[in-house]
């Protein structure tokens, strides 16, 4: 299903991805993070948050298509949809995966360090970002990227 039939000549970036893939993946992730929040500051929540954090790893290193959520999208969701209006640059969603990895990874690290209360907090923040991405396509990390660059540049 990966070989696409391209609808005519397009000015999309060379290795464009279906923009709906990352959003479906974010929806799956948001559900898992909601469960972490519901479990609360307990070991089970830490384990689930670690699973989510590990799921962000291939997304941040390679791209959203390398995650199991991306695989689910290609196998289960995409065959039921029409072709996308246009393809999307894979870099923004990959950056979003990195942001997700940092947020959930911090929660896991604090949880392993004995601060279990940090687990639902990290899950809550990541849930907000993932749910916004899934519902309206807002990439929180991307919105803050330029502010971060401005800030970093100002300190140098």
């Amino acid at each position: 299903m990966t070989s696409t039939d391209r609808p005519g000549p397009q000015t999309a970036p060379p290795a464009g991805i279906d923009p709906r893939g990352p959003r479906v993946g974010a929806g799956i992730t948001a559900v898992l993070l909601a469960v972490v929040v519901l479990i609360g500051p307990r070991t089970e929540a830490l384990v689930l948050l670690a699973v989510v954090a590990l799921s962000f790893l291939p997304g941040a290193l390679v791209g959203t298509h390398a995650t199991w959520q991306g695989l689910l999208f290609r196998v289960l969701v995409r065959p039921r949809l029409g072709p996308p209006e246009h393809l999307e640059d894979p870099r923004p969603p990959r950056f979003a995966q990195l942001v997700g990895l940092v947020v959930t990874g911090t929660g896991v690290a604090l949880g392993l360090g004995g601060v279990l209360a940090a687990v639902p907090w990290a899950a809550g923040i990541a849930f907000l970002a993932a749910a916004l991405n899934a519902t309206v396509g807002l990439c929180l990390g991307c919105e803050l990227y330029l502010l971060g660059r401005r800030f970093r540049g100002a300190r140098v």
Partner: protein, 150 residues
């Protein structure tokens, strides 16, 4: 468990609120408010970027590599560009000085310049064709470019 459920409900409400506000502000054209900021020598900045201003108006778009809405906005603006309307896209991360001077906080931000190179409107977030046309009207009201022979 009741407490956790309340936290999740609050998170969902917060998500919905942010989503609604964000979506309403996407591409919203702000006219005039920005004029006080830095309506200085935009033509010089354009020249420094190696770009030529449009005879009627210029869309100066600040983009970033990690910005999906920048691509759609660039497509929208490029479709409106022509002999009189220029579309200049700048990588914000490579022109941080200009970004600070222009008080650009996020990408995409589109600054609309009139024929004289003064800022007349700006918008942040993905722009629809309608919003782009409205911004263009703000820069150069839709009278005929050839003159006012009515």
């Amino acid at each position: 468990m009741a407490q956790q459920t309340a936290v999740l409900v609050a998170l969902v409400v917060l998500t919905a609120a942010v989503a609604l506000v964000w979506r309403r502000r996407q591409g919203q054209v702000r006219v005039g408010a920005a004029r006080a900021v830095a309506s200085t020598a935009w033509h010089e900045d354009l020249a420094a970027l190696g770009a030529a201003p449009g005879a009627r108006a210029t869309f100066l778009q600040f983009s970033a590599p990690v910005c999906a809405a920048c691509r759609s906005t660039a497509r929208t603006l490029a479709a409106l560009a022509g002999p009189d309307v220029a579309h200049v896209e700048v990588d914000a991360t490579e022109h941080l000085d200009l970004v600070r001077r222009a008080q650009v906080l996020r990408t995409p931000t589109v600054i609309v310049l009139d024929a004289a190179g003064a800022e007349v409107a700006r918008a942040s977030g993905a722009m629809t064709p309608d919003q782009a046309r409205a911004a263009l009207d703000a820069a150069a009201p839709t009278d005929l470019p050839s003159g006012r022979n009515a």
